[in-house]
């Protein structure tokens, strides 16, 4: 064997080992919602709906669907807590507004996603994004119409838009 193949083989091996291992071994760097930010989102959404005369409950979930903030609005119906959670869960999991999900599965009751826990085809939740990345979601329930729930949710996210980067 000449010197060259050795060198090439050595280089290749080094490249493989160093390249593969170091890339896979790196920790994942994630940005996540803080509690104060999540509270601002939820409180703003509830306040917006209240100013329009709607009592709503709200949930803000984090990256893994964990509940960061859960708020039961005054004079809301009991199901609004569950519903705002499920909408938020749906939005986080699907990475789209829960209303968009509802549209997507309309006319397809066998859609697999509908058979997962906590998925609900109901408008009123939006994913919380940093660029293209979904780091959580807010779900609102209690207004007379999912479009109104969603509009309130949006004001919550808009309030902290400058910090979502």
């Amino acid at each position: 064997m000449s010197r060259k193949p050795y060198l090439i083989a050595g280089l290749s091996l080094t490249a493989m080992v160093v390249g593969a291992v170091s890339v896979n071994a790196q920790l994942v760097a994630n940005k996540d919602l803080s509690l104060p930010m999540a509270m601002t989102i939820a409180q703003t959404a509830i306040a917006t709906c209240k100013s329009q005369g709607y009592s709503v409950s709200a949930h803000v979930l984090g990256r893994n669907g964990e509940i960061l903030v859960s708020m039961r609005g005054d004079e809301t119906a009991p199901h609004t807590m569950e519903n705002s959670f499920k909408k938020a869960w749906t939005s986080r999991a699907q990475r789209i507004p829960s209303g968009k999900f509802a549209e997507n599965v309309k006319g397809n009751p066998n859609a697999g996603a509908l058979h997962l826990s906590n998925m609900v085809p109901a408008q009123g939740a939006l994913p919380i994004m940093i660029g293209e990345e979904t780091i959580g979601a807010i779900g609102v329930s209690g207004a007379p119409g999912g479009d109104k729930d969603e509009a309130c949710a949006k004001t919550g996210i808009d309030k902290v838009a400058a910090d979502l980067k």
């Binding site: 509940i67 903030v69 859960s70 708020m71 039961r72 609005g73 807590m81």
Partner: protein, 167 residues
């Protein structure tokens, strides 16, 4: 009819009237005061801030009259169990109408106390009932500080903050 009989009849009538009044009283709707979301949020936030000022990251739950969750706040810097634990402590304080620490004391050495077998009851300090006079309208539970006594102290700050509203 003798006077005695009259008197007995009169007493019966009075009793009947009393019963009638009682029935009326029983038919009335109940009136009570409940925590608003704003008050509940102020309590939870006050408690979390108090703990944070001491260097403790805690999660908090405020539950209402029926033990329903009004506000739940997960502190991203607190342990995973703190979310569940703060809810259970709050539920315990609400339903037993005493601090969860007092309950813990009460069942110390009595591991077969019936209440310990109920869902969401926990013998752990860190929650206080929220009172309006003698009426328990809810509770706040805190978890995450190094010691239930510290959790409870923060919970108290939260309630004290809205004391003027609790009447």
């Amino acid at each position: 009819m003798s006077p005695t009989v009259h008197r007995i009849a009169g007493l019966s009538l009075a009793t009947a009237l009393a019963c009638g009044l009682a029935a009326t009283a029983g038919a009335q709707l109940l009136t009570h005061k409940d925590l608003s979301l704003a008050t509940a949020t102020a309590i939870a936030q006050g408690a979390i801030d108090a703990c944070k000022a001491q260097g403790y990251n805690v999660s908090a739950h405020v539950v209402g009259r029926e033990g329903q969750v009004i506000v739940a706040l997960r502190n991203e810097k607190a342990g995973l169990a703190t979310y569940e634990n703060s809810m259970k402590k709050a539920y315990t304080a609400r339903t037993l109408r005493m601090s969860s620490g007092k309950f813990a004391e009460n069942v110390k050495g009595n591991t077969t106390a019936g209440q310990l077998y109920l869902t969401n009851i926990t013998p752990a300090q860190g929650a206080l009932p929220i009172m309006v006079g003698n009426d328990t309208v809810g509770a706040i539970g805190i978890s995450g500080a190094p010691g239930g006594d510290k959790d409870e102290a923060c919970a108290k700050v939260g309630i004290d903050k809205v004391a003027a509203q609790l009447k």
